[in-house]
């Protein structure tokens, strides 16, 4: 690993000032499970690493206020999957959080880091997309809120501008009863990236949303407003037709984890499965 300076700000304003000062020479450190690999591989060569874990405002916490559940930037995936409120309200996010890496990775990796790293295969992205999550963004210039659906630009690229960081991710309270499920295919269980991943949410109104990962340059969200997918009286053939239409936005590539053709075929299979599971979760809600 090449040398770098390590700074550990105690407050958000200190962290933002440092980030503003050092610009592209700085890397942010939350859980480190992506950053330390990049430092060792020298794909990143920062002059300064800014550790966010001791920033008072970013300490691990999950809080409820004004209809939002807010997950602070340094909350790790284990914190999220073990939180009773998250388990009750956002089960698909728990499905996703417990599939990331291994117990050791989940004890260090943060939800915010998973999103900011912006891998097309980020496991938590599809669930956050269907739940309508937002990222709270801060810089020395002020704060803003970004809908996750507008957050991802491309592989490892987000809308974040130099000097900006995500202070928390917030999920809106459920307005209507809903059932959501996250499913994915990997070559082996544990410490593997998704070949494909997706999250389905069926609302009591009949609206159905899908978000997909690892089948395009960025995770993306699509919706069926017709109510057909959620309708128990509609046959599989008619549902497949709707699913195929929703899947036209997927543009999977062939790589070591699977071919384009395999991914396309599995997208339909896994979409059907997630739809059935989500309908069952809605009925149980």
């Amino acid at each position: 690993m090449q040398p770098f300076a390590y700074v550990r700000p105690a407050t958000l304003s200190e962290a933002l000032t440092l980030l503003d000062e050092h610009g592209p020479d700085a890397s942010l450190l939350a859980g480190g499970t992506d950053l330390v690999v990049a430092l060792r591989n020298r794909t990143l060569r920062p002059k300064v690493v800014i550790d966010l874990k001791r920033v008072a405002e970013l300490r691990p916490s999950i809080s409820d206020e004004e209809g939002w559940t807010t997950i602070n930037a340094t909350s790790v995936l284990t914190d999220i999957s073990e939180d009773q409120r998250i388990r009750a309200r956002y089960p698909a996010l728990v499905d996703a959080a417990v599939t990331v890496g291994s117990a050791q990775i989940r004890n260090r990796a943060t939800l915010t880091g998973n999103i900011c790293h912006a891998s097309p295969a980020a496991d938590t992205a599809p669930a956050l997309l269907v739940y309508g999550a937002i990222a709270n963004v801060a810089s020395v210039r002020g704060t803003s809120r970004v809908n996750l659906a507008e957050f991802f630009v491309g592989p490892r690229q987000t809308v974040l501008q130099p000097g900006e960081l995500v202070t928390s991710i917030a999920l809106p309270a459920d307005a209507t009863p809903r059932g959501a499920t996250f499913v994915r295919i990997t070559r082996r269980r544990g410490v593997d990236l998704a070949t494909i991943s997706l999250c389905c949410m069926v609302e009591a109104t009949g609206r159905t949303q899908f978000a997909f990962g690892a089948v395009g340059p960025r995770p993306f969200l699509v919706a069926d407003e017709s109510g057909l997918l959620a309708d128990l009286d509609v046959g599989d053939a008619a549902k497949d037709e709707v699913l195929r239409r929703l899947l036209t936005q997927a543009s999977p590539i062939s790589d070591v984890r699977g071919s384009r053709e395999y991914r396309e075929a599995m997208l339909l299979v896994m979409s059907r499965r997630a739809l059935r599971l989500s309908i069952a979760r809605l009925a149980a809600a």
Partner: protein, 153 residues
């Protein structure tokens, strides 16, 4: 940078360069070579230690991040020269073949049993899914964790 860490119960105060991983710090500076360096990517689990009670890949953590933390390595499990029940179970079940992955497997098992004292086989497999054994001795390793979970029941 100067860091203060408690390693296996002993307080240490040492100077460490920011570009040193916790694993290198443990092995090279503290001479605790039980934790192994293998993939250096967080995929094999050979470097697993506990930091403030949670299992982590010490190759994915900078030593400076451990400042003010408590670290437990494989060397910290035995007390007064006696192996702990999980280590005993690894011996009793013949779970150690070449032995390279075992410190990491034991630490991952230790963390699992702390959280879930009586896991099912499926839970053991899931709990150890971040630890690779190139000898392929998973059956005995899982049996050892299950056997340790029965001790004192």
């Amino acid at each position: 940078m100067r860091i203060h860490v408690t390693v296996n119960g002993a307080e240490r105060d040492l100077e460490v360069a920011p570009n040193t991983t916790l694993l290198d710090f443990l092995r090279d500076d503290l001479r605790l070579t039980g934790s192994k360096e293998c993939c250096d990517l967080g995929e094999c689990g050979a470097c697993t230690v506990l930091v403030d009670g949670r299992s982590v890949n010490s190759c994915l953590m900078l030593a400076v991040e451990a400042d003010a933390s408590e670290v437990t390595t494989i060397e910290g499990l035995a007390k007064d020269g006696r192996l702990n029940p999980l280590q005993d179970a690894f011996l009793a079940k013949g779970a150690v073949q070449c032995g390279f992955c075992i410190p990491g497997q034991v630490m991952a098992g230790q963390y699992l049993l702390q959280r879930n004292p009586h896991p099912t086989l499926a839970e053991v497999r899931e709990g150890l899914s971040g630890n690779l054994c190139r000898c392929g001795g998973y059956v005995q390793i899982c049996e050892a964790v299950l056997a340790a979970s029965e001790v004192g029941r």
